[in-house]
Symmetry: C2
Subunit: 125 residues, 2 copies
DNA sequence: CCTTGCCTTCACACTGATGTGAAGGTCCGA
DNA sequence: TCGGACCTTCACATCAGTGTGAAGGCAAGG
């Protein structure tokens, strides 16, 4: 599919799809006339990228981990391509992600705890 | 305490402490000579702000939720200051935070699942 | 053939978070 | 009284993620 259709199907402006390619997150083929040609998988990839960007990851982090995320459990990348250095890097990323999760969960709890307290107060004044 | 000490105790450059004030996240007193005067609580506040920024929240989101986070469960803000609109806004923020958590947790699982698979493969070739 | 709509690259601009430095006021200890 | 360490504001610079528009190539339909 071409960039316009991918944009419509994902809700992401073509400008950003080109930017993600420039950032090495997407790798569409090219038709003879130079048009970008995306496969079906690109839809999921783009949604994945958006989710991670919205969650505060940088394009650099996403570029690193994306190859190990695109496959839904079955089509794992051959592990021979995974040097110990890369594995360590991925583990570091897992740790950073975990730290974010912890921070967010902690504050979500505080926030919703506060809201619950206020509601209880309001119901029984 | 003055800005230099707060910077040393939190590891956050003074430039950023001034920026957070400009963004209405910190509200230090001023001494007669114009120097910023921070209370002890500022240390926790700054760490809170850093954690949330590192977790991908914007200063705007942080500005909104910070008043409801600074207190560690006991010193809740009086609920009469909480209009229904504000409550709704806070709930929306909770939802956004939850969405981030879900996205991050999902991808953390994929990533660490992949790493585990590779390790299993390596241990039993 | 010409219009319409899609595509291409290039480029300028904004915002948010940050780095860095200049120019100057304050305070304390030698 | 001077020097150094601190503080002040102001301002320009950078990076990432976007918006926006110009200038032009390609394709399909009336």
């Amino acid at each position: 599919m071409r960039i316009g259709e991918l944009s419509r199907r994902t809700g992401v402006p073509t400008r950003l799809l080109r930017y993600y390619e420039e950032q090495d997150l997407l790798h569409p083929e090219r038709a003879d006339n130079g048009y970008r040609a995306y496969g079906e998988a690109a839809v999921r990839d783009v949604q994945q990228i958006r989710g991670l960007l919205d969650s505060g990851l940088t394009t650099e982090m996403i570029r690193t981990i994306l190859p190990y995320l695109s496959a839904p459990e079955e089509i794992l990348l051959p592990p021979q391509h995974l040097t110990p250095e890369t594995a360590a890097l991925l583990e570091a990323h897992v740790d950073r992600i975990q730290a974010r999760i912890d921070c967010l969960a902690r504050n979500r709890d505080r926030l919703s705890g506060y809201l619950a307290a206020v509601r209880a107060e309001a119901g029984r004044p």
